[in-house]
Amino acid sequence: MNSSNLLSVVTFVYGFAAILYIAAWIFKKTFPGLLATWTALLGAVGNAAGIIMRWVESYTLGIGHAPLSNMYESLVFFSCTIVVIYLVIERTYKNRIIGAFVMPLVFLAIAYASLSPNINDRIQPLIPALKSNWLIAHVVTCFLGYAAFAIAFGISLMYLLARRKKKGKGYLLSQFPGPAFLDNLTHQMVTFGFLFLSIGIITGAVWANSAWGSYWSWDPKETWSLITWFIYATLLHARLMRGWNGKRVAYVSIIGFMAVLFTYFGVNLLPGLHSYG
């Protein structure tokens, strides 16, 4: 079994975990929830193993490099980080409903990597521009940031749903954590994401400066990461403004994640230097 096969299996494990989380939420049962947690954990272990295997495989091919060099590899890493961060949250706050909103995102990310015909899962040699130790620092920090924003996005959706509880009654919403808790958690995730996005942009700038001599060149991908950064900076400040309640902050968090997605996928439609996600 090679890493691509293992990661295809992981895709289905995550899909199963997502279904279990949703079932646990809808049917208000503990058992599927417990099973969901263990399935997600199993997926994360398989995911991490897949990444390590791929690393080893690239060395046996004689083109050894960290498996973070193209869209496929970054998506695989992305899903792994989301699951790990999510599981930490689940453990800390003893709440599984968040999983029903986060795990489907993980499934979509890795399913897109494994199944989309546009994405090549072969291990390719590094082109000269990517041969740098900054590659690892840059990609890892960016994706830690993106993962946190993805979770913030899921929680913001929950927040908006929870807010509606007041008007309707909603059997499904009755066991949601309180809006204040969700708002707080969104903020925590956004601060975490903001720190890592900042470090990601910074390592990217330092790398660009060491590779072609300018730390900032308004390349579309760079610019979109800066746009994302502006949006989350807006969110951090909007919270300090009177009149901006959690609802508007939740909307900004959702817009911010749309910008993340565009930085990640959309920019490839525009011309630029970045050859991968």
Partner: protein, 455 residues
């Protein structure tokens, strides 16, 4: 007198305008939205391209708004400048209050305020007061940088706190933003960016600026001693490597190899491996085969130098070299173009593509030409930059990371333990606040209280 008053009012209004967080939100969102434009419309292309793509009306409209170089346009710079003023004014506005709070000698605590907190734990103990006082003091000193005990009517209070300085974190984040903008400004005023192509063996002392296309002289000379390129089995490039020498005042200074991601830095000027190309070869060895006899003979020649063919057929001359050559819609890549001049006055063009050695076979002529050998020389393409603002920008990077970490993950925590004697028992209250992460502080207070109860 009146005049002075008016300007004072104007100034205070201006100050208020720039001290508002609402303005920050507006500016950040404006920057986010306008930045999108430059990613949809390619920047710094040639005017002719724009004219062709957008038509006359939009070309004029976009030109007027500087959309084709929008990140350097006056209005984008104004947004950045306003953000800078905003962040400076806003920080100054609050700094004095924070400063007083952070550098106070004896921090003030108010028991009644702690009593009102919702984040509060209570328990009773059978231990004597003095006993508890020593134990609790120890516990507080272990976890908190500052603590003090105060005697009260019915017992005692212990106040403790840590991380007062973390309140300054947000100012360092804002300082870092200023450093970045300042570094960018320094770079755009005092720096430059250009490129130069150097053939193997050649020495240059000037480069071409990217923005204006003008020549810029350097204080030293750069010689390209060697260039090499290697490929993976897939054909994708693996490494570009140039060996460069620096020569100053006619004297050799240093020699270094550069590859992508590993530039040469000398006197504030950086030389980056950017691209490369093939130079037209000078020495060519031709293979000439007679179709009838199968006899092969070799001839050395140069571009433009006619070769006398045996048996008096005529002459052959290599006229030209092309890096790419299109033959009936197929790109033959590097190709020599020669002319065969026969004695009878007939002349015919002959293509000699380097990658398709038997190409001339298809011509079905009596003589078959191909290239046996040629000297391949490269030129290396260097990106040349000078940016004295980089150090300021990098310090901004460092300050930003540290500042964000402090601001997001550290907080100013204040804790109060109040112990009151009620009859033969003592009642203990533990309450705490933090300026950040209130959820986390709840857990801290709970755990601390549980620890105290066990003592």
């Amino acid at each position: 007198m009146k005049k002075k008053n008016e300007s004072a009012i104007f100034f205070s209004r201006l100050w208020k305008f720039f001290a508002s967080i609402r303005l920050t939100v507006v500016l950040l969102l404006s920057l986010a939205v306008t930045s999108i434009i430059g990613t949809l419309i390619p920047q710094n292309q040639s005017p002719a391209d724009y004219f062709h793509n957008y038509g006359e009306f939009f070309y004029n409209f976009f030109s007027a708004l500087n959309i084709f170089d929008m990140y350097h346009s006056w209005w984008f710079q104004v947004l950045l400048l306003m953000l800078t003023i905003n962040v400076i004014v806003c920080s100054l506005n609050r700094l004095s209050t924070t400063w007083k709070m952070v550098f106070i000698k004896i921090p003030r605590f108010n028991v009644s305020k702690f009593r009102k907190l919702s984040n509060k734990e209570e328990f009773t103990s059978n231990r004597p007061l003095e006993d508890l006082r020593n134990k609790y003091k120890q516990a507080a000193s272990k976890k908190y940088g500052y603590y003090r005990a105060e005697q009260t009517d019915k017992g005692f209070c212990i106040f403790a706190e840590k991380g007062r300085w973390t309140r300054l974190g947000v100012y360092t984040v804002h300082l870092s933003v200023i450093l970045l903008l300042l570094g960018g400004l320094i770079g755009s005023i005092f720096g430059f960016e250009g490129f130069v192509n150097i053939s193997e063996g050649e020495t240059v002392n000037s480069i071409r600026l990217r923005k204006t296309g003008q020549t810029h002289n350097l204080d030293f000379e750069i010689r390209c001693d060697d260039f090499s390129v290697s490929f993976y089995e897939t054909g994708a490039p693996k490494e570009f490597r140039s060996t460069l020498s620096i020569i100053e005042d006619g004297k050799f200074v240093l020699k270094e190899d550069i590859i992508v991601n590993d530039p040469l830095r000398y006197k504030g000027i950086n030389l980056f491996q950017a691209n490369y190309g093939m130079l037209p070869p000078e020495e060519i060895t031709l293979n000439i085969m007679s179709r009838e006899t199968g006899m092969v003979y070799k001839k050395k020649t140069k571009i433009g130098q006619p070769v006398e063919l045996s048996e008096g057929v005529g002459t052959f001359v290599v006229k030209d070299y092309r890096n790419s050559f299109n033959y009936k819609g197929i790109n033959l890549d590097e190709t020599f173009i020669g002319v065969l001049n026969r004695k009878d006055g007939n002349s015919i063009n002959i293509m000699l593509p380097l990658n398709f050695v038997s190409f001339d076979n298809m011509r079905k002529g009596d003589l078959i030409f191909s290239v046996a050998d040629y000297d391949n020389r490269y030129y290396t393409g260097l990106q040349v930059t000078c940016d004295p603002g980089v150090l300021v920008v990098y310090s901004g990077f460092a300050v930003m990371i540290i500042g964000c970490f402090v601001t997001f993950f550290m907080s100013h925590q204040r804790l109060c333990i109040e112990v009151i004697k009620i009859g033969s028992k003592t009642k203990v209250m533990v309450a705490g606040t933090a300026n950040k992460n209130k959820l986390g502080m709840q857990t801290i207070v709970k755990n601390f209280s549980q620890n105290l109860a066990k003592l």
